[in-house]
Amino acid sequence: MPLKSYEHCCSTIQALASLGKIEGVIPLLHGPQPCLYQNQVGSMSCRPAQLLTAGTLINKSDVVFGGEESLKQQVKNIYKKYKPKMIAIINTCVPQLIAEDIEGVIIELEDEIPDLKVVTCKSGFNYPRSMPLGSDAAWAALVGGFKEKEKVPGSVGIIGRTGQDAGNMAPIDIPIKKAGIKTFLFPAPHIDEMEKIVCADSLYSIHITNHLTSKKIKEKFGTETHFIEIPVGLEGTSNFLRGVADRENSQKLHDIVDEEEKRVRPEFDRIKASFAGKGYRMLLVTGPGNEVSIGKIMAELGMEVFVVPCMKNQLYKQEKTIMEDRYGVTFIEKDFDLLEDLIEEIKPTFVSCEFQAQVETVRKFVPTIINMMYLCDYGYDYAIDLGTNFLTTIKQPVYEKWQGFVSKYGG
């Protein structure tokens, strides 16, 4: 039985962080003070602006008699003050526990104020063990509020991961655009831009964390989302783009991929040669989904990779098969008590884990990267940058110095 949770945060914080990064959406946290305070503080570091959050601050009497009235009032307050395009109620564990009728509140509010658009994101108890699902739930909630739009023939929609991908999908967007294909990106920093995803003729998911969103789009707008593989590294990026090229019948995109491969292959070969024979083993422990994507890059570059996944949905299973078959990556799906037990068992050279998990790796001075800082991982160039600078960034000699201190002085 696990003795800790190695996720970066509760799925509710992730929902708040994701919704808090979209202009035109005001998130409203529905929950008691401790939950709201933690969510607010926890989301601060990754929100670009609009740093304050509205909340309902459920109290004991709300729990006993129902907090619907407070919720309704707070939605009205927000609407009056900000007139947002959409208010997203982020539901937390306590209202879920007392089975509050959030949908009922929304119906009443929309009857009262016809211009008001309110959606509800069901995080909290629904996804207690996977932070990125909070993001997926948030996107799915937004999609629920989108309206039907005319599709742009031959256009492609790219569905990324979490709020961090908003504005960071250029490495995938650029070659497709260069091939003359109109693209729509999801997420995006503005609600109007996000809503345009419904205009895409075909959709491609580029990470494992958007299963609920893709399902919701299909359910509401009938567009199927294709998952080829995560476009990271050389093979991953090329296979993804070629998959899009095949489906969209674009020779130009194939040609662009050929050119890109010619440009980047020597760099990949150089990095692989520098890693070869070193016996590097990397353990990547549950994160914002990048335990899979960063793991894939490192495996391609020649490391022996072990992954503890943050989720086990359909997209993950597909990616897992690719990584096992192509690079022999080991996936650890069984429970473990503590990360240090895993470290003891696997004896990794490097660990990628969450900030809170780092306390266990530092204890043994195992070189560690914090997974939340290694986002924006798509395309060829990120992998080259990561591989080229990895040993410099990880600073193994400093860890060795500290290991020496432990040997000499104890502690």
Binding site: Q50, N168, A188, G379, K395, V398, G410, G411
Partner: protein, 574 residues
């Protein structure tokens, strides 16, 4: 006609001389009377500039006039000395001013005539640096010491700290604590905070420790070895966990002590510190620039500690000692020896550190160039309060060096990547040109991982806002402008290569008159604010309007007022 040009170097102006060094050394002795044999202007400047770092009231002067200097100032000195002798001082230290050194007053003759036993005369060399003055003063102080055959067991002198040595009080406090930890007593600190009695008993110590071997003290230690038979250590700088331990272990070894429990305890605390804090996560991706023109020892110790134990890259370092420069060159690629302020400014821009350590001038050029994370670590300071807290040396110093760096940079960079508290996240649906997208992607790769995602978001948002304001797509020119203006801690130099292909804008015609009336205003401006544009040189008025309006919008001002204009000017450091 070819005109002879001479390189104008200003470094001598911001570097203290041997006279400062001598005065700081003398004034640090608590109960000694220091007389600066000088004109009043010379005195008052020295006194005031000393007070900003160390509050020492008792500095006196002979207040020489032009006539005194020209006709001989011996009488004035005698008069002042006799007044103090009447008060039965512990010692009198006379430091001569440059004008007295020019006329070569017979100061020693006056002292002999007055006949006070514990008189020390320090004649700093004109053209010398502060370290020369310090050593000159230390060596002159040897004359009032009591030569002693008998040594106190397990006792040391610390040679080096004087007034106006940055952070001396905290460092001495920490080194004393550490020495006590291994059972060693500090007999005398030469000189800051010492009494005359302590200075006199210095020969009783069994060992001398040079605290700032790359700055001063070695000459003095050698002289003390010759005169009093005291050996000295000058090879380990106790900065960082490892060197603090090695320093203590070497001293313990000298005293044949086998008790290593203190070092062990401190190192276990260091390991606990590394285990329990946000240490490696942040320091590993940090870069620092060190400017230590007046404390070469700090430069050597801190650069080695940051590199080998904290994983922080020292991207540039400025020192004044060639040996220090050579040693630092092993861990740092960009070492300036006696660099000018302009050279330091260029180095800051080209190496783009996340934190800058230095003095007042470094702080100013950092501010001018947009480097917000600064840690005072050297003189001159124009006012810096030092206490026993926050050492740079020893175990606690190592912890503090990590603490101050992390606290200054981590929060600073995070806040720099944020928009306004209630600011916009996006300007709407704005198309991006492919080149602009590529440029932003390249820029993101140049940022440290711990801020990459949020920093890129801010650039993304500002670029879109600018495009909305211009009524265009996001172009590479916009991305360049945004990267230049809003990049966290100014990674300008690194980013410039991204924009190599951007055509440079046409040069500004400096003679062209741009009347205020001809300018386009996209926001409402108060008439008074418009009038202030008269102060802006003509060719820059258009840009000034654009930038002021951007500033006003960013700060949620609906119109440009005098207050907004002023606030923007202040932010630019004007």
């Amino acid at each position: 006609m070819t005109q002879d040009t001479k390189e104008f170097r200003m470094q001598e102006i911001h570097t203290p001389s041997a006279f400062e060094g001598a005065l700081w050394t003398a004034c640090g002795i608590k109960d000694a009377i220091t007389i600066f044999h000088s004109p009043p202007g010379c005195y008052i400047n020295q006194h005031v500039n000393m007070l900003v770092n160390d509050w020492k009231v008792d500095l006196y002067s002979t207040n020489l006039s032009y006539a005194n200097v020209m006709q001989g100032a011996e009488e004035k000195l005698e008069e002042v000395m006799r007044k103090f002798i009447a008060k039965d001082p512990a010692a009198i230290i006379v430091v001569t001013a440059p004008s007295v050194e020019v006329t070569q007053d017979d100061v020693e003759g006056v002292a002999n005539k007055v006949g006070f036993k514990d008189t020390v005369i320090i004649r700093p060399p004109i053209g010398g640096i502060a370290s020369d003055g310090r050593d000159e003063a230390f060596i002159k102080l040897l004359d009032i010491m009591d030569p002693s055959e008998e040594k106190l067991p397990n006792s040391v002198n610390i040679i080096g700290p004087t007034f106006s040595t940055f952070n001396w009080m905290a460092d001495v406090c920490e080194l004393k604590r550490m020495l006590e930890g291994i059972g060693v007593t500090v007999n005398t600190v030469m000189t800051a905070g010492a009494t005359v009695a302590e200075i006199k008993r210095a020969p009783k110590a069994a060992l001398n420790l040079c605290m700032y071997p790359y700055d001063c003290g070695i000459k003095t230690a050698k002289e003390m070895e010759k005169r009093f038979g005291i050996p000295y250590f000058d090879d380990i700088i106790p900065i960082g966990f490892e060197n603090s331990s090695l320093w203590l272990e070497k001293i313990a070894g000298f005293f044949k002590s086998s008790d290593t429990s203190f070092v062990k305890k401190e190192m276990q605390s260091a390991i606990e510190f590394a285990n329990s804090n946000m240490f490696f996560t942040v320091t590993f991706e940090m870069t620092a620039s060190l400017s230590f023109d007046n404390n070469n020892t700090y430069a050597v110790g801190i650069s080695e500690f940051y590199t080998s134990e904290a994983g922080t890259k020292v991207v540039a370092c400025s020192v004044s000692n060639p040996d220090a420069a050579k040693r630092i060159g092993v861990v740092c690629d960009e070492v300036l020896l006696n660099g000018t302020i302009e050279q330091k400014r260029d180095k800051l821009i080209s190496t783009a550190p996340m934190a800058v350590f230095g003095n007042f001038y470094d702080k100013k050029i950092s501010m001018d160039e947009g480097f917000q994370n600064f840690i005072f670590a050297d003189i001159p300071t124009i006012g810096y309060m030092g206490t026993e807290n926050c050492p740079f040396m020893g175990y606690r110093g190592a912890k503090y060096l990590v603490q101050c760096l992390v606290n200054e940079v981590y929060m600073g960079i995070f806040l720099e990547t944020k928009g306004e508290m209630e600011g916009k996240i996006s300007g709407g649906v704005v198309p991006w040109e492919i080149k602009a997208e590529q440029a932003l992607m390249k820029i993101s790769e140049m940022m440290p991982h711990f801020i990459r995602a949020t920093a890129v978001k801010k650039l993304h948002q500002v670029a879109e806002q600018m495009a909305v304001d211009n009524g265009t797509d996001v172009t590479i020119e916009i991305v360049q402008k945004v990267a230049d203006k809003f990049t966290p801690t100014k990674f300008k130099a690194k980013f410039s290569e991204v924009f190599d292909e951007v055509e440079p804008q046409a040069p500004v015609d400096e003679d062209e008159e741009v009347p205020i009336k001809s300018l386009t205003f996209n926001m409402e401006w108060d008439d008074e604010a418009k009038d202030m544009l008269e102060q802006v040189p003509s060719p820059f008025r258009k840009v000034a309007v654009e930038n002021t309006e951007n500033y006003a919008k960013e700060h949620s001002n609906e119109k440009v007022t005098v207050a907004v204009f002023d606030a923007f000017r202040k932010e630019l450091g004007m």
